[in-house]
Symmetry: C2
């Protein structure tokens, strides 16, 4: 039986879903000869763990209780009296994580947070023979220095769920690269929200109306400008570009925001943006749609990586390309390489949601199992 000790950072939606997946896969994994042993869980303020991480684990009942406590908005401290566990907080957390990692010799540290506070810690554990699995994009989109540190042992890191949720994007790119097939172009729609918006406006609905509809469907962040700024897509683009070997930072990426600076969150309150800002953008977007349409094309908010170019923004694409045919909130990625030169390799499907994202994280953890063989 291969035993994988696991330390989870972040117990928001994705982290909790991961715990649920782990518990419901117990039988499946046992048949495959693998046992995932959760030895610690942290959020930004606290950490719960157990006394002897070499032999014990946080039981499934405890983990379910943890999920319940967290979804009700309470603190991990509430678990202190529920079953055998130790609770640490504040500055103790980092020390305890290092301690657990050093004791275990080899473990997997899984970052399902959305925080940049984990970066320093991850860079340290990776040198303690730890494997790192990320759903969190921040550690890979910070400085090149910390990126290099994180990927210095490439077999010990997985981060499928940082791009396209569980879609097999990173694993497929890694396969292509390791076979010596050079990728010369990647183009994709990597935001379910912007994919939905761009395919909806194409039918003639005003931009402002579509964004409002997306907001009430729960497709956008509470402030839709978090999506419309393009920053989230830019982070994914940076992750892909660095994977292809580009030595760039966030500031090298050309990012098109779908609203002007004077409508930014620091300048304009959300209500005003929704009521007056957004509608004032309708005309311009409609003009661009009409112009694309007269070329037989449609507009998509894409990420494009090619030679030294890395940019995210609105592009005209052929109506009958994989990108142009995209409907709804699916993600799609077109990869061009020597083997896929005329027609790209296309990967398409749901690229968001806690279930899918957590499933991608779990597949990554399982993919590390050979490193845990004795």
């Amino acid at each position: 039986m291969v035993n994988i000790p696991l330390l989870l950072m972040g117990c928001g939606g994705v982290g909790r879903q991961l715990l649920h997946h782990i518990i419901s896969c117990r039988d499946l994994h046992s048949k495959q000869g693998v046992r995932l042993r959760v030895v610690g869980v942290c959020d930004s303020k606290s950490m719960v763990t157990i006394r002897d991480v070499l032999i014990s684990e946080l039981g499934d009942e405890f983990l379910l209780q943890l999920c319940k406590v967290k979804s009700s908005g309470s603190s991990l401290n509430e678990l202190a009296n529920f079953g055998e566990c130790q609770v640490f907080s504040g500055q103790e957390i980092e020390k305890k994580v290092m301690d657990v990692a050093a004791t275990l010799c080899r473990s997997s540290v899984v970052d399902c947070s959305a925080s940049s506070q984990t970066i320093a810690l991850l860079s340290r554990v990776v040198n303690l023979y730890c494997c790192v699995v990320l759903a969190n994009k921040k550690p890979l989109t910070s400085s090149l220095e910390s990126y290099d540190m994180l990927v210095s042992h490439p077999r010990r890191i997985r981060h499928e769920s940082t791009v396209g949720a569980g879609l097999p994007v990173i694993s497929s790119i890694n396969r292509i690269l390791s076979s010596g097939d050079p990728i010369f172009r990647i183009m994709g729609s990597l935001s379910g929200t912007l994919g939905y918006v761009m395919s909806q406006v194409e039918g003639g609905r005003p931009f402002s109306q579509v964004v409002n509809a997306a907001k009430s469907l729960g497709y956008t962040e509470p402030d839709p400008r978090d999506d419309l700024s393009g920053m989230d897509v830019a982070r994914k683009a940076l992750i892909l570009a660095r994977l292809l070997g580009h030595r760039i930072n966030m500031d090298s990426i050309k990012i098109e925001s779908l609203y002007p600076v004077e409508m930014g969150p620091d300048v304009m309150p959300l209500e005003e943006f929704l009521a007056n800002g957004l509608p004032s953008l309708d005309k311009d977007i409609q003009k661009r749609i009409d112009s694309a349409s007269s070329n037989g094309n449609v507009l998509r908010y894409v990420c494009l990586i090619e030679e030294s170019r890395c940019e995210v923004g609105i592009q005209e694409v052929a109506k009958d390309s994989a990108l142009g045919r995209l409907k709804g909130s699916d993600n799609v990625l077109e990869i061009y390489s020597r083997c896929y030169s005329e027609q790209p390799l296309v990967i398409q499907g749901a690229g968001a949601g806690n279930d899918t994202t957590a499933a991608g994280v779990l597949a990554d953890i399982l993919d590390l199992q050979d490193l845990f063989q004795h």
Copy 2:
């Protein structure tokens, strides 16, 4: 440096391309800390290897010479005087392979042949801690008994290139399954030849004309009936179905042949089939196309796996589905699971060709590297 000793079976187009890929990736793999060491190559009649497989290898110059000898149609015996090597033939081969495998303790045996003669040998080496990488479909589509033997150590076998050439089909399905996301339906077009034929006839060209055109473009086997029989697609369907846990054999698959039995290769000579047989099929196919078209659909030769169903044949599919939009000789696979339930996960791209197939094999070999760590 991780050292992967490699024994190649089959040096036809794919096998030779693999050797070329390995040689041209030397620098890349060295940067990744991996060294592929080719210690033996077999074809159906002979085997070349070296005296001390623990420390030596067949050099790159030797391997290039081997490729040259094989592409000219000569025997591996010709290499006996070229550099340091040992040549074995006939019954000696199996004994020598076992010998090499036992000496190396852990090695990877790569089957790029198209033969069922390798099955017995593969089942034996897999018990010697060998890893197995297959482009050859036969070992996985023979009896359930030998299938079970081959996959008895699931982490030691890879076979991406048995379905869709280098397309990340098997690796993606394995990821989905290991994350506990149950796949309930797979539908795809897994033959570049039949994909081309079915998308071409849709435009009104007679079936016989399209098949002849595909033949002269080199898209079909020398006898196009090898493609039209559906047997090759059925093999891929069986591999996918078994991967999903279906305990079935070839004879459980419903296979639609695009020609009737009385036109089979044992009954009708190729020339007569091309001249008279094929054209007599035009009318019926046209009728089916018209009927589909009146429903707004198109015809595709698909593989369908769903619950206990596993079948390959012509199906009506929606014009605007990934399958319906397929043009040219690309493969496409739609995977439906809990995470991809309404919209499938779609993987699309070139699914044939020695370059792509060999790249898939090489990615598989690299994917095994953690098992070769000390």
